[in-house]
């Protein structure tokens, strides 16, 4: 029997540019105990459709047509006909919601316990303090949190994964018919993501509710749901069992979504270039870290590290790690944005933190970067060409700026006449990030630091942008340090991989070895935690995930480095 039936629903948003039809004629049913994935890119209407069932559309959106039937209601089952008080009673008791922003979804001034109690009281009336305590204890226990400790804490004292598990505890404490989970793990790293998803599945199976999982990651969907609904621009383009969708999708858009998930192994999305142009020959290494470490107060972000990259033959060196591993600290140390606490960062033999103004300018010209957030990289006050023109003129590149900009845009697949004269907010994230790559190309540096260049770009564009970056090495002879949390892309683009954990290199070597056949416990855990769009691969259950986290805690502070072989032109120092 179905829990929820959505029939021919239309949702409109009046905006300053006219009415946006966010959802057009979507029909589907959610069966009891079944998990449905809503997948699509940002703005596809996946969250909007799900929220319509709770009547919680963001202003000024409204349901313009259609019906939403919650079959456990008495009498008229259409939730769109309920009055406000009836609707309030449906929320959480019949349909619960697990929000996207794990970091901010709990009231910062209330203890965790109290945030479960108020939900219970709102639906079941005044209970005794002992009863309430028992309810919150059960709820927290169910998601694997210690009620005696966690219940008394404030949200800011919890980690992201714990907060999201508290949200699951709240969402399941009244045993609803349907749980709507809106990208519940998008703010978490892969290891925590696996644990939270397993907890969610476990709780959902226990109470036998239907589950709508909203997401954009086909791999996560493949590991988590029974059916998939693919949405594009507010239209349901494909709906069916997960195996059918993954293995034999009918709609080209679905196939595109699946293809956009890079896999470890398999075909590369890059076209191989026979002979990349050589860089200049140098006596000193292009970039050298000599015993560099970084401390912030009592916290060590990076333990002493040494490596040398000669730059004669351009290479892509990947630095892989989760948040807090020290990888972004490394990036800013190499750019000279941050002084090391000990050791030296040398560029062509010169300490970059002890350069004269002239030498510093020359260093800047030769070392460029692409950052994570393409939205922040353009000054909103200027048209986008300011970001390209200014460095070109400041470095005295000579030649015609306009021609150089146009050539660079064309090289990354942008039409210069359409993008250059615009303001940043008029461009999409993908366009902006390609402009930043074009900027790097124009300046023809010797070294490019790419810090998570594709993590904030929609999945379908990631491969294109990575190909653009890869071209910088192959066609323009630029050495690249690629900093990422994503092992699969590192596997494909890099010549050498370093895996960072708590500021230590735990495993290093060519990607085929390190990622294709990991030896270190942490690397293995990372790779096991990645959700692939592969249905026959077992992601394990919540106990496995918990055991893995315990294993991580055991590795603790001073892990050993596992060396997996060398490549010419790059040497990683010992210790």
């Amino acid at each position: 029997m179905s829990v929820l039936d959505i029939k021919n629903i239309h949702i409109d948003f009046p905006t300053s540019k006219g009415v946006v039809h966010a959802v057009t004629d979507v029909t589907l049913s959610i069966e009891k105990g079944r998990r449905i994935g809503f997948i699509g890119e940002s703005g596809s209407g996946k969250t909007t459709t799900a929220l319509a069932a709770m009547r919680m559309l963001a202003n000024p959106g409204f349901v313009a047509g259609g019906e939403v039937h919650l079959n456990s209601l008495d009498g008229d089952t259409n939730v769109l006909h309920l009055d406000d008080e009836q609707m309030r009673r449906v929320r959480l008791r019949k349909i619960s919601y697990i929000p996207q922003g794990a970091m901010n979804s709990l009231n910062p001034v209330m203890r965790v316990d109290a945030q479960i109690w108020d939900a219970v009281v709102a639906h079941e009336g005044g209970l005794s303090q002992a009863d309430l305590q028992a309810r919150s204890d059960t709820a927290l226990d169910g998601v694997g949190l210690d009620p005696k400790v966690v219940g008394r804490l404030f949200p800011h004292e919890l980690s992201g994964g714990m907060k999201q598990r508290v949200c699951i505890a709240i969402g399941t404490c009244l045993t609803p018919d349907l749980i709507i989970a809106d990208e519940p793990t998008s703010a978490l790293d892969v290891i925590t993501q696996r644990h939270v998803m397993q907890t969610l599945r476990e709780m959902q199976e226990k109470i036998g509710a239907g589950l709508i999982l909203i997401g954009h990651d086909m791999g996560l969907m493949a590991q988590s749901v029974d059916d998939i609904a693919v949405l594009k621009k507010g239209v349901l383009v494909e709906f069916g069992p997960v195996r059918k969708i993954i293995e034999d999708a009918e709609h080209p858009y679905t196939r595109e979504l699946i293809a956009s998930v890079p896999l470890v192994g398999g075909d590369s999305f890059l076209s191989a270039q026979a002979s990349p142009p050589k860089g200049e020959r140098l006596d000193k290494p292009l970039l050298e870290l000599d015993g560099v470490s970084k401390q912030y107060g009592a916290v060590t972000a990076l333990h002493p590290m040494s490596f040398a990259l000669d730059g004669e033959e351009p290479k892509i060196i990947s630095i892989v790690g989760q948040s807090g591993s020290g990888k972004s600290t490394m990036g800013s140390l190499m750019l000279g944005f941050n002084d090391p606490s000990a050791g030296q960062v040398r560029f062509k033999g010169d300490d970059i933190n002890a350069m004269s103004a002239g030498a510093k300018l020359a260093f800047r010209k030769q070392v460029q970067a692409v950052f994570q957030d393409p939205y922040a990289c353009f000054n909103p006050f200027y048209r986008v060409n300011h970001a390209l023109k200014f460095p070109y003129e400041n470095f005295g590149m000579g030649g015609d700026v306009q021609t150089a900009m146009e050539e660079a845009c064309t090289a990354v697949g942008l039409d210069p006449s359409l993008v250059l004269g615009r303001y940043p907010h008029q461009l999409s994230g993908g366009q902006r990030q390609r402009l930043i790559v074009a900027r790097a190309l124009m300046l023809s540096p010797k070294l490019l630091i790419a810090d998570e260049p594709v993590s904030m770009v929609d999945a379908s564009l990631r491969a294109t942008i990575l190909a653009n970056i890869h071209d910088l090495k192959d066609k323009h002879g630029i050495s690249i340090i690629y900093i990422t949390h994503d092992l699969a892309t590192a596997y494909h683009v890099s010549d050498y991989v370093m895996v960072l954990y708590h500021g230590h290199v735990v495993e290093a070597g060519p990607p085929k070895e390190v990622i294709g056949d990991p030896q270190h416990a942490y690397t293995r855990l990372l790779i096991d935690s990645i959700p692939w769009p592969d249905l026959d691969r077992d992601w394990g259950d919540a106990d496995d995930a918990r055991a893995a986290l315990d294993e991580l805690a055991r590795i603790g502070g001073t892990p050993e480095t596992v060396y997996r072989g060398d490549i010419p032109g790059f040497t990683l120092g010992q210790g």
């Binding site: 619960s96 929000p99 901010n104 709990l106 108020d118 709102a122 709240i170």
Partner: protein, 335 residues
């Protein structure tokens, strides 16, 4: 309730002492930069005014000694700071030989009473109205009426005081024109006196409230818009909580936090506004004392009143800072 982190407490105490010290120093230095040294003027005035007072010669000699006008500046400064911190502001020149401290002590309760009542009323009304401007369930009529009332915001209380006084005291005669209590009521713990105080205090308090609530309402409006979009507010709604409960425990409870900080920063301005209101209503507080002192060029009183009001402000800020960690658990845990 948890404890306040020691570093936080020390930090606030340091700010308190620094504020008081800087204020005291400014009050000391400024007259000495003037071409006519008011201390000389003051002593001269005392000498002439003292003719009719017994022992005036002795008192004056003692004063001259105490000001140590022939000592080097740092000795004078040290003496001044020592006296100020023990609330010894010298002797009034206009009401010779009344000590300034006793004049201030008589006026202070009136100012404090009026200040506490009007500030708290304004803060509560202002924030509540600001919250209602944003809340989605506010009746339509309120949503129109509240912004209309904002017109008075940022008009200084002296102007509203003048208008209210003209309308309600001068024209309608509903409220008294001046004073803090009736002339024929005896100060004391009687119902009669309390009634008279409330009756006299109503207009001065109202003239502060009607023009300053808008400041809080506008600030609250911006904060509520932010809080309204926060994930925890959305989750609260998804939890099926009652709308009033969400308004108080989720929205206002969080939006009020920056307002409390703003309160600490704004106290100085509000107190200054009140001093002027007191002057207009001839209320028996510090404002009137200050105004009379300016008229009489009674320098010790001007210095004393200024210092005490600044001290009050600094202590109020300190108290707000002290309460804040109990309202925001994130500060309590040093986050």
């Amino acid at each position: 309730m948890g404890r306040i982190p020691l570093s936080y407490l020390l930090n606030r105490l340091f700010t308190l002492f620094l504020t008081v010290f800087i204020a005291a120093t400014l009050i000391w230095i400024i007259p000495r930069l003037s071409p006519v040294n008011p201390v000389d003027v003051m002593l001269g005035r005392m000498a002439s005014g003292g003719g009719s007072v017994e022992n005036s010669g002795a008192i004056l000699a003692q004063l001259t000694e105490r000001f140590g006008l022939n000592d080097p500046w740092y000795v004078q400064f040290w003496l001044y700071i020592k006296n100020t911190l023990t609330f010894d502001f010298g002797i009034s020149t206009a009401s010779f030989p009344t000590p300034v401290a006793s004049m201030i002590a008589a006026a202070l309760p009136w100012t404090l009473g009026l200040m506490i009542v009007s500030l708290i009323i304004t803060f509560i009304i202002g924030n509540l109205l600001g919250a209602l401007m944003v809340w989605e369930h506010t009746p339509r009529l309120w949503k129109v009426a509240i912004p209309a009332a904002m017109v008075f915001t940022s008009i200084p209380p002296i102007l509203s005081g003048l208008l209210l006084m003209y309308i309600f005291s001068s024209q309608l005669g509903w409220f008294p024109l001046n004073g803090a209590y009736g002339l024929n009521t005896e100060p004391g713990w009687s119902l009669d006196f309390a009634g008279s105080v409330l009756y006299h205090g109503f207009l001065p308090a109202m003239s502060i409230v009607v023009v300053t609530f808008g400041f809080w309402a506008l600030g609250m409006r911006g904060l509520m818009i932010t809080v309204q979009g926060e994930d925890y507010t959305i989750l609260a709604k998804a939890k099926g909580l009652r709308k009033r409960y969400i308004l108080y425990r989720y929205m206002i409870r969080n939006a009020i936090l920056p307002q409390i900080t703003a309160f600490a920063l704004k106290i100085g301005m509000l107190v200054a506004g009140q001093v002027l209101v007191e002057r207009i209503f001839a209320y028996n507080g510090m404002g009137k004392l200050l105004y009379d002192a300016i008229l009489d060029q009674d320098f010790p009183v001007i210095q004393g009143v200024s210092f005490v009001i600044i001290l009050m402000t600094a202590v109020a800020v300190f108290l707000v800072d002290l309460i804040y960690p109990f309202i925001d658990p994130r500060i309590r845990h040093g986050a």
